[in-house]
């Protein structure tokens, strides 16, 4: 019996102690006519040997193409130590640290995580994680609505340069609470949002706006003018919600430092997806959403928070704190319903950040930037390919093609290349545009491979058998 340790003798002893004749008796409170369950549609159990073989086959059916896709998930190098330690049984198979004294490992690690995130974001406080970046933005919006007592509107300005899936997800989650997300169009020249446009939308909405969302780098990879928008928001009692790529924050101005260097500057809430910091792409997850805020918003924070305290002997120790915000105490009045979060991925991410260090992360981020510049240079040298926007980018760039983006990407796939993300669906105005991404993983060779393949594809050359890496 896989995973069941009972012997016949023990079963007998246990039933005797219970005073039952068979295990079937233990289910006698269930209405008998409901107890006729057939699981015919579920296959028979397998041995580990058989499953391992099956899963290896399945894994092999997935692509091993050279990845120039980003759009919210990024292929970064993850040091081997990260997941080897993360999957140690003591981290892997523990529950939420409700018994603090028996969970100091997870608790201290999470406190360190919070510290790292506040440092990286230059914010005051971080929680212990939310599900992912998209749902994290929803929580940030809910938090802003609770936190901005000066605004009654429940209206949030969301530029269309914010990841479209994030916008859709946020909508799903906040709509039940009568919160409105209002689009702000971007400048078709720069690929970024302008303060003028934001002002205009604010006025159009009646002038009372609860918060404005700003993504840096934005979905097009472009860098937004974060300082002036942050200052304007604060002047108008609007909270600023930053959505950022944490890897980029090693080299870009972090949300806590947006705006003029005055007392009240900086984003009020910073959120995003922690995936770039140690989580494999893994077909979409598990990643995690991070959430940081200024001190004055801490009691509006959803999710778990770890605090440092002392034990009876005055020794330092760590506990779950401010639990009165949470659903298991506050029930219907909680800041959120979140309970289970993405703890193990946070564990990995913390170890990742510790191993990389500030300098390591900076160098990695700078390499992403430099590689993307090389890629864009190589690709835009090909006739029929040009950069769509003028703004500087971090590690993603929108390229404008003269042929069908869909077809080009499909042909690149035949060359074993994941060539980028087709933008026409969410941004019809961009036509045949693709979003390409280059991390530190893409070598000069890889970039040349892409350039050569794109050249051939655009020239209509057929794929040679030996080039067809996979389909």
């Amino acid at each position: 019996m896989p995973f069941i340790p009972h012997t016949e003798t023990e079963i007998k002893q246990m039933l005797d102690a219970i005073g039952a004749d068979s295990t079937e008796d233990l289910f006698d409170e269930i209405p008998p006519h409901l107890r006729e369950v057939s699981l015919a549609g579920i296959p028979q159990g397998m041995t580990e040997m058989e499953i391992a073989r099956l899963m290896r086959q399945r894994a092999q059916q997935n692509s091993t193409a050279l990845c120039f896709l980003g759009a919210g998930a990024y292929e970064h190098h993850i040091p081997a130590a990260v997941w080897e330690i993360t999957t140690r049984g003591e981290f892997y198979s523990a529950y939420t640290p409700y018994q603090a004294e028996a969970s100091q490992g997870t608790l201290q690690l999470t406190y360190e995580y919070q510290s790292m995130m506040t440092a990286l974001m230059a914010m005051d406080v971080s929680n212990a994680s939310l599900y992912d970046g998209a749902s994290g933005l929803a929580e940030a919006i809910l938090m802003a609505v609770r936190g901005n007592r000066k605004s009654k509107s429940r209206k949030i300005l969301v530029p269309t340069t914010v990841n479209p899936v994030y916008r859709r997800t946020a909508h799903t989650i906040v709509k039940g609470q009568n919160i409105e997300l209002l689009d702000v169009p971007y400048d078709s020249n720069t690929g970024t949002v302008t303060l003028d446009e934001i002002k205009q939308q604010c006025e159009a909405a009646g002038g009372d706006i609860t918060a404005v969302v700003l993504q840096q780098p934005n979905f097009f990879g472009c860098l937004e003018a974060v300082d002036e928008i942050t200052d304007w928001a604060h002047e108008n009692n609007i909270l600023l919600i930053a959505v950022v790529n944490p890897m980029a924050m090693a080299v870009l101005t972090p949300p806590g430092e947006w705006g003029s260097a005055e007392k009240n500057s900086g984003a009020d809430i910073a959120c995003g997806d922690g995936q770039p910091l140690g989580a494999p792409m893994s077909a979409g997850g598990p990643y995690y959403g991070f959430l940081c805020c200024k001190q004055n918003l801490v009691r509006q924070m959803p999710g778990r928070i770890i605090g440092r305290t002392v034990d009876l002997d005055g020794r330092e120790g760590f506990v779950l704190t401010l639990q009165a915000r949470e659903q298991h105490i506050r029930r219907s009045k909680a800041t959120s319903n979140i309970c289970t979060n993405q703890g193990l991925v946070v564990t990995a991410s913390t170890i990742y950040m510790a191993i990389m260090g500030a300098q390591g992360l900076e160098n990695t981020a700078a390499a992403c930037y430099a590689n993307n510049r090389k890629l864009v240079e190589s690709l835009t040298a090909i006739p029929g390919v040009k950069a769509a926007f003028t703004s500087p980018c971090f590690h993603e760039t929108v390229l404008q093609l003269e042929q069908s983006a869909e077809k080009v990407l499909a042909e690149l796939m035949h060359h074993g290349i994941l060539g980028g993300y087709k933008l026409g669906g969410d941004y019809p105005e961009l036509g045949e545009a693709i979003l390409v991404c280059t991390t530190e993983m893409r070598s000069d060779d890889d970039i040349q491979t892409y350039a050569r393949a794109l050249e051939k594809v655009l020239a209509g050359e057929p794929v040679m058998a030996e080039e067809g890496v996979l389909c």
Partner: protein, 486 residues
């Protein structure tokens, strides 16, 4: 010692990043970070040693018996981890065309199908990333269903008072108000109170069965009838399916929508707090509203359904596909179990719980509910011990830690004073159950003879009892030099 306290400026021990920083020219100065990123600078050995040592300060299934009620701390098969982490899965970008991730999609499709079969629902979405998000999806679908029918007055969700805190919190997030239904002493929902409560304002009822009191709701069919007749829908909080797997199916009980915590019943690891999966299943009539993505099979090929296929979907809950790595682990686990294995889970989880309950009674403990079968879990109340010897359930819990056992869930459900909610799961051997009961009995004896031992517990762990009040008052949520300097 914090990792930051091992840090030294100028240290570069790791062979993990380019040694030189590429120039960032082209980015305007004001957009460039001026301060350091503030992460610790330690060598790889220091990091490995620090986190390996930290890990040793955790209790976990792999090291201790962990009978935490309502949490289903069962063995997490190691193969589930290693097979979910095959490079072919880890290196798949989520936006890879469907045709190039057929291996992964096949697993997801089959997982949906198996969940339908074992719960008796018509369709599943794997999108929700934990139980609470599954609840959100479920209640949002209830809302969408009523709205689609033009039934705009149903703004109330009913929740038994024994329910998990996520239930009322979820209802509110979805814009509903919450009404609590009382529970009888025998653990069943107060059917009369329920009848009083339902009405044209009723959107639905959220029910956990077996309830968090560890008993099966015997009137489930009557409850379903009451709610359905009032025009409401039935939500099944299936966080814990362990006790009913292959024994009874929520769909057959009359539920319209359910979520299942794959990180409990299907043994994906809890990871010290997550990630999980709260896959959500529905009866036929709710299928159009399922959150995306969902995987479909057409002509032996698998593909993600989009909002074009499902225009009435409540939408997306995450940027991609929920938590695929967790889903893969659950998939592997279900293939391990197979049809026969599922039933065995219920049988042995229930056998273990009932055995421990019988033993608890034999050893003189008071059960929260008498004369009922335990499901996968049961409750001891220490109210007598508290009164007589001034020891609390928390004292028992901490003393158990000293004896090498993780404590059961304490103070939940809120209805039972000084309670311990004990869930052994099916993967524990009799030897572990007996050892735990011996420890509990010993502590009871200590409570009577030397209660100070309990108050002072734990003594053998890295720290003694921690000052939670101070933690909440003198907030220290990040290492000082890391906090925003402004």
């Amino acid at each position: 010692m914090l990792i930051f306290e091992h840090s030294a400026e100028g240290r570069r021990g790791a062979p993990q990043s380019p040694a030189e920083k590429a120039p960032l020219d082209g980015i305007p100065q004001n957009l460039l970070r001026q301060s350091s990123a503030g992460l610790p600078e330690v060598s790889e050995l220091q990091a490995v040693r620090h986190y390996t040592r930290l890990s040793k300060k955790n209790f976990s299934i792999d090291t201790e018996f962990y009978p935490l009620g309502s949490c289903t701390m069962k063995y997490n098969p190691r193969a589930c981890n290693s097979l979910a982490m095959l490079p072919g899965f880890l290196n798949t970008h989520p936006l890879t065309p469907d045709a190039q991730q057929q291996g992964f999609l096949a697993c997801m499709y089959e997982l949906q199908e198996m969940l339908c079969e074992v719960t008796g629902m018509a369709a599943f979405s794997l999108a929700p990333m934990a139980g609470a998000q599954g609840e959100f999806a479920g209640v949002a679908m209830i809302e969408a269903y009523h709205r689609a029918r033009g039934d705009h007055e149903r703004r109330e969700i009913l929740v038994p008072d024994a329910a998990h805190g996520t239930n009322p919190a979820t209802a509110v997030m979805c814009g509903f108000s919450v009404r609590e239904i009382p529970t009888l002493d025998n653990g069943d929902v107060d059917l009369d109170a329920l009848k009083q409560a339902v009405g044209p304002q009723t959107a639905g009822l959220m029910l956990t069965n077996p309830s968090t009191l560890g008993v099966f709701e015997r009137n489930i069919e009557a409850i379903a009838t009451v709610v359905h007749e009032a025009g409401g829908l039935l939500y099944y909080d299936g966080a814990n399916l362990n006790a009913i797997l292959g024994k009874i199916r929520p769909g057959d009980m009359g539920f319209d929508v359910i979520h299942s915590n794959l990180h409990k019943t299907f043994s994906t690891p809890h990871g010290g707090g997550g990630p999980g999966s709260g896959a959500v299943g529905v009866a036929e009539r709710l299928q159009p509203y399922l959150p995306l993505p969902v995987v479909a099979k057409e002509d032996e090929r698998y593909r993600y359904l989009t909002s074009e296929d499902r225009p009435e979907s409540i939408g997306r809950l995450s940027a991609f596909m929920g938590n695929p790595g967790v889903l893969l682990r659950a998939y592997v686990y279900m293939r391990f179990l197979g049809r026969e294995g599922m039933v065995r889970v219920a049988e042995f989880a229930t056998l273990n719980a009932n055995y421990m309950m019988a033993e608890a009674k034999r050893r003189g403990f008071t059960l929260a509910i008498e004369n009922r079968r335990a499901s996968h879990e049961f409750i001891i109340t220490l109210k007598n011990e508290a009164r007589e010897f001034h020891v609390s359930a928390m004292d028992f819990a901490k003393r158990l830690l000293d004896l090498g056992y993780h404590a059961p869930t304490t103070y939940f459900p809120l209805l039972v004073p000084e309670c311990l909610l004990i869930e052994p799961t099916e993967t524990e051997a009799k030897e572990a159950l007996d050892g735990f009961m011996d420890a509990l009995e010993q502590i009871k004896h200590e409570a009577e003879t030397n209660p100070q031992l309990l108050h002072d517990a734990p003594q053998t762990l890295p720290v003694k009892r921690l000052d939670e009040v101070r933690a909440a008052k003198q907030l220290d949520l990040a290492y000082e030099p890391c906090r925003r300097q402004g």
